[in-house]
Amino acid sequence: MTARRRMAWAGLVLALAAPPVLADGPARIEVELKDHVFTPSTIEVPAGQRVEILVRNRDGTAEEFDSTALKVEKVIAGGGEGVVRLHPLDPGEYPFIGEYHSDTAKGVVVAK
């Protein structure tokens, strides 16, 4: 990789890394994952608005918050937390799972 190309990459990464500007940040809802179960497992959100879900993983191992309905796949490290950003949703139900423990780690986002 040439020096110039490397510079271009560095510039691109910096440009992407600039924090997004959020006017009146979106509503944030907290969800806890413990023993591979989400609490609450039913998350009500206002339809048509940006919402963030803060997932706190109280288990020792990683989990992947996964939902094709919500267009989200995000790994949350054991003992860590992660923010799941939802695009404005139409009213309806959007199931999600913890992919690594999908028999117990499941829930639904209800947009009203």
């Binding site: 691109l12 990464v13 992407l16 890394a17 924090p19 997004p20 959020l22 020792g60 191992t61 990683a62 989990e63 992947e64 094709t68 309905a69 267009k71 989200v72 796949e73 995000k74 790994v75 949350i76 490290a77 054991g78 003992g79 860590g80 937390e81 992660g82 923010v83 799941v84 950003r85 695009h87 404005p88 992919e99 690594y100 423990h101 999908s102 028999d103």
Partner: protein, 275 residues
């Protein structure tokens, strides 16, 4: 065992399909096995590193480190695939002519082997890190027997490799005169699909808010998390709820690749298509 079988199969399949396309596109190129092998080995090492530092990675950039990382490595893959196609467009004619001469060394494709090896590495890294995290969790939890997990992993790898192998041999069955066009087309759509996935990660990280509402929902007709949906997702970037930005990125990559290929091959003397 079933859980490890399903997850390992899914991830091996997604990486394996990309390996299959790369192997087909480098058909006849000397030492491609070494390069693809290096790509896979590098990807496995990278996957373990990403898994080991998953927490630290996620905390970067206001909690969007993982999304930016995914978008960046996908972006690298898109550039490499674009370069491969453009390079082949400028040199592919000699290569197609040589390929038919049995036993003759095909030099032309070597240049882009490193680029394609990187694409393989990226694919293995992304899918592999999920497998590593999952298996680490299973092992840490105890419960299931080691033999059961190992059986699941082994079967998952075998099944994923089998389907990828079917794709590869299916591609090899394409007659030589259409072969170059077919692999070029597949790589173009693969690149466009990866670009659209990169956009999805930027949207998820909160870095691309424009046109971020899904344009349609074809989940009922062809669910993205079904087996066919997953295969198409990997191969041509199918998604059941594409956003406007994803579709824009997809079409833009296809257009850029086709325009660049036309531009570089324009100056070449045109030869009748080899039959």
């Amino acid at each position: 065992m079933l859980a490890s079988l399903i997850i390992v199969f899914r991830e091996v399949l997604e990486a394996g399909l990309i390996v299959g396309i790369v192997l087909a596109a480098t058909r006849g190129v000397v030492r491609r096995g070494v390069w693809v092998g290096l790509g896979i080995a590098g990807g496995v090492i990278g996957a373990c590193l990403v898994a080991a530092f998953a927490g630290a990675l996620a905390d970067l950039f206001d909690g969007s480190g993982q999304e930016l990382f995914n978008a960046a490595v996908l972006g690298v893959a898109v550039l490499m695939l674009t370069w491969h196609n453009v390079w082949m467009a400028s040199h592919g004619r000699e290569m197609a002519a040589e390929m038919r001469a049995v036993g003759q060394e095909v030099q032309a494709g070597r240049r882009t082997l490193a680029a394609l090896a990187l694409v393989v590495g990226v694919a293995v890294l992304r899918e592999g890190s999920e497998v590593v995290l999952f298996l680490y969790g299973v092992i840490a939890a105890g419960g299931t027997t080691a033999a059961g997990v190992a059986a699941g992993v082994g079967l998952g790898i075998a099944a994923g490799a089998l389907v990828s192998g079917l794709l590869y041999f299916g591609l090899l069955a394409i007659p030589v005169r259409h072969f170059f066009r077919a692999t070029t087309g597949l790589i173009t759509l693969l690149a466009a699909g990866l670009a659209s996935q990169a956009v999805a990660f930027l949207e998820q990280g909160g870095y691309a808010d424009a046109w971020s509402t899904p344009l349609w929902n074809s989940n009922a007709a062809l669910p993205e998390d079904g087996i066919l949906g997953r295969v198409l997702h990997t191969l041509v970037g199918y998604t059941d709820q594409p956003t406007g930005m994803q579709l824009t990125a997809y079409l833009a990559v296809v257009a850029v690749i086709l325009l660049l290929m036309r531009a570089v091959s324009g100056g070449q003397p045109r030869r009748a298509a080899a039959g």
